[in-house]
């Protein structure tokens, strides 16, 4: 059998610079499985790409529709932006009963969407991260921060969650200012942030979007010199763009002290793409979960394997890391329970979203490195 997995990401549009690595991540998992020949008695897995455009629900739905009805994909890895993800879920995935695992849609709204058990995400929830950020800041004795977020459901959700958690813990947020991605200039935002002041600037944005623009502008004007970087901001891009200018800044992104994350970066390097790109690990994991669940259900039919996603993702079982998909498939075939850890330490909770384990990073000598796990 040739199993098809749709990869629907915004290959054009505002996220076009991170989606290539995400797509490559997912496809790496598929290639790995195909090579192993262990899935469902030697099935191959092919990826069918679709462009979600990130912003155009109509075009995204049309692309998904084509993938599902014309290419007959067995599952969807995607979409990226929460808006189009919701549209595809409601209009295509549910209607056709196709499983959909998003690597990057973090909107809390999606948690409560009716999904007939078809929708999962490997991205952790914003609420969880808000608590993590608060803990890290407090452990460093920071009491007053300025906050800026990218003006979409991810940024806004995270900012709200963080502000609530931080203030509940006694900290104060001097200003919570939105920034739009892909705009020409961020002096206005930085001006307002600087004026409000704070020990640290929390940048809830994307590293190769407005987030970097804000950091650049803040550094240049001397507005802030210490930053906190949530998941969307952590990437090697930071080292390239800013280097030593960020010494002393810190942050956290999903990951465990398991070897998974590092392994993934290695694999990605071998495959020729940037494994540290935002949501690339989550994409790998999303694709992997789909295939593992298929194996567990013994069927590539969404209706069958949708109930197995939780089983393969969560403990108990043998831990499976990136590059070990073959092992996972064989174990399942042998009837052994597995606990897929993967590149982003997936642990599904509640309505099918990642519980979120985080690794804390800090900049020194122009590069960031992991200093602990939470």
């Amino acid at each position: 059998e040739d199993v098809k997995i749709g990869v629907i990401l915004g290959f054009t549009g505002p996220l076009e610079s991170i989606t290539p690595a995400m797509g490559a991540g997912a496809e790496m998992a598929m290639a790995e499985v195909t090579a192993s020949g262990a899935l469902l008695d030697g099935s191959t897995v092919t990826s069918v790409r679709g462009d979600s455009t990130c912003i155009d629900a109509g075009a995204a739905t049309a692309a998904a529709e084509r993938l599902v009805t014309s290419d007959a994909v067995n599952a969807i890895m995607g979409a990226d932006c929460s808006g189009v993800t919701g549209a595809i879920l409601q209009n295509v995935a549910r209607a056709n009963g196709v499983v959909m695992i998003s690597p990057s849609a973090t909107s809390p709204g999606l948690s409560s969407a009716e999904d007939d058990g078809l929708f999962f995400r490997t991205a952790p929830s914003d609420a969880r991260q808000g608590v993590i950020i608060t803990e890290i800041l407090q452990s460093r004795g920071v009491e007053q921060v300025a906050l800026t977020y990218t003006n979409n459901d991810y940024g806004k959700g995270l900012a709200d969650a963080f502000q609530a958690a931080f203030e509940a813990a006694g900290g104060s947020v001097t200003i919570s200012a939105a920034h739009e991605d892909g705009k020409a200039d961020y002096s206005a935002e930085v001006g307002a942030l600087a004026s409000a002041g704070g020990e640290v600037l929390v940048v809830a944005g994307y590293v190769d979007q407005g987030g970097s623009g804000i950091v650049r502008s803040s550094l240049d004007s001397g507005a802030f010199d210490t930053f906190y970087f949530p998941d969307g901001m952590v990437g090697t891009k930071l080292n390239d763009n800013f280097g030593a200018e960020l010494n002393g800044s810190y942050g956290a992104y999903p990951g465990t002290d398991s070897a998974g994350a590092a392994k993934f970066v290695e694999l990605a390097e071998a495959a020729g793409f940037d494994g540290t790109g935002a949501f690339a690990p989550e994409s790998y994991d999303a694709a992997a979960l789909i295939m593992l669940a298929m194996q567990a259900a013994g069927s590539s039919n969404s209706a069958d394997f949708k109930d197995h996603v939780f089983d393969v993702a969560n403990a108990p079982g043998v831990e499976i890391f990136p590059g070990e998909l073959a092992k996972g498939l064989e174990l399942i075939a042998a009837g052994t329970d597995i606990d897929y850890v993967g590149a982003s330490a997936v642990e599904l909770i509640g309505p099918g979203e990642s519980a979120g384990n985080y690794q804390e990073i800090e900049f020194a000598d122009g590069v960031y490195s992991t200093i602990g796990y939470r």
């Binding site: 549009g13 505002p14 076009e16 610079s17 290539p20 003006n151 001097t174 200003i175 200012a177 939105a178 920034h179 739009e180 892909g182 705009k183 020409a184 200039d185 002096s187 206005a188 935002e189 930085v190 001006g191 307002a192 600087a194 004026s195 409000a196 002041g197 190769d208 970097s212 623009g213 650049r216 502008s217 240049d220 004007s221 001397g222 507005a223 891009k237 390239d240 763009n241």
Partner: protein, 336 residues
């Protein structure tokens, strides 16, 4: 009360960035306004022309760096700029020959040309991404700062710092020079006047012996030069990314229009109007006021008229208000 610190804070967070951003928009707007003034349509492909020129310049810069050539304290990209301009000129002349000429000969309505330029925009969009990819590219080197905030603080002993970047200074200077040159060129030189004549009344220009092909070529060449320069200066200050350049189109158009289409002076003024309205209206004046007011009067809140979410809304609102009082822009622009 501390006037100096207040002033420096204001300069650092409002004036200098506003000036630099305004100048960046202005150089872009000069190109848009020139196309509108001479060829009589709003060129939607301008953002992507900028992106193309910058991409070419980046390639040139990389080649120079590979050869070990740098430009001392100035960004190497400036050395590669002529190469970028040259490549862009070739491209736009080719596109004009392939695409626009046909509609000019047909005497198509301006709106057709606008839509055609959207087609060109889509194509260039793809071409640029194909050549250089979609990622964020930083290509600034040399001395980044004329003065950094930290140095300024040490030098003056003030609490507030003032940072001025090399590229900011270059941009402002280039913008003013470009504007003056263009103004002089259009109003004082023979070729410039013939270009205006051509835009005014094509048939009559023909009857006066003006060579329309030449006029069009010169226009595109200047536009290509302006677009590349604008793109490179912007990229040096911020970074290069194809998508952002496309997004730059809106503020650039706004600048050209609020200043008055077809008028170089207007483009400059428009650039600053847009930039400063973005920066000032959403600025939180707390910092400045804290220095100015006696302690017991210090503001609790941020003293921000509007939250930054409304940055664009506000700058557009100002644009609309300007247009309500000056329907063809600050400097009496043209309209078709």
């Amino acid at each position: 009360m501390d006037y100096l610190n207040a002033l420096v804070a204001f300069l650092n967070f409002v004036f200098v960035p506003g000036l630099a951003y305004g100048a960046q928009l202005a150089i872009g707007a000069l190109g848009v306004t020139l196309i509108y003034g001479i060829l009589r349509f709003s060129n939607f492909a301008h953002g992507d022309t900028m992106a193309f020129g910058t991409a070419m310049t980046i390639i040139g810069t990389n080649a120079l760096l590979a050869l070990g050539i740098t430009f001392g304290p100035l960004p190497t990209a400036l050395l590669a700029l002529p190469f970028g301009i040259g490549a862009t000129i070739l491209l736009v002349l080719f596109i004009d020959w392939l695409v626009y000429k046909f509609y000019r000969d047909q005497k198509a309505k301006p709106v057709i040309l606008v839509i055609v330029s959207m087609g060109v925009m889509f194509v260039m969009n793809g071409v640029v991404r194909f050549i250089i990819g979609v990622r964020d590219i930083q290509f600034a080197d040399g001395e980044r700062f004329l003065i950094t905030a930290r140095d300024f603080k040490e030098m003056t002993g003030l609490d507030e710092g003032l940072a001025i970047k090399t590229t900011q200074a270059i941009t402002v200077v280039v913008a003013l020079i470009a504007m003056a040159l263009l103004f002089w060129f259009l109003n004082k030189t023979r070729t410039g006047k013939s270009m205006r004549a051509f835009s005014d009344n094509e048939d009559l220009a023909l009857l006066s012996g003006i060579n329309p092909d030449w006029v069009v070529k010169v226009t595109w060449m200047i536009v290509a030069a302006l677009a590349t320069t604008a793109g490179v200066l912007y990229g040096l200050d911020k970074s290069f990314k194809a998508f952002t350049y496309f997004q730059l189109l809106l503020p650039i158009f706004a600048a050209a229009i609020v200043g008055g289409l077809g008028n170089p002076l207007g483009a400059i003024a428009g650039g600053f109007v847009i930039a400063f309205s973005e920066v000032t209206i959403t600025y939180a004046w707390k910092k400045v006021l804290v220095y100015l007011l006696p302690e017991n009067l210090e503001p609790d809140g941020l003293v921000q008229l509007m939250s930054t979410d409304y940055k664009f809304a506000v700058s557009f609102a100002i644009l609309i208000i300007v247009l309500l009082f000056k329907p063809t822009g600050l400097f009496k622009g043209q309209s078709v």
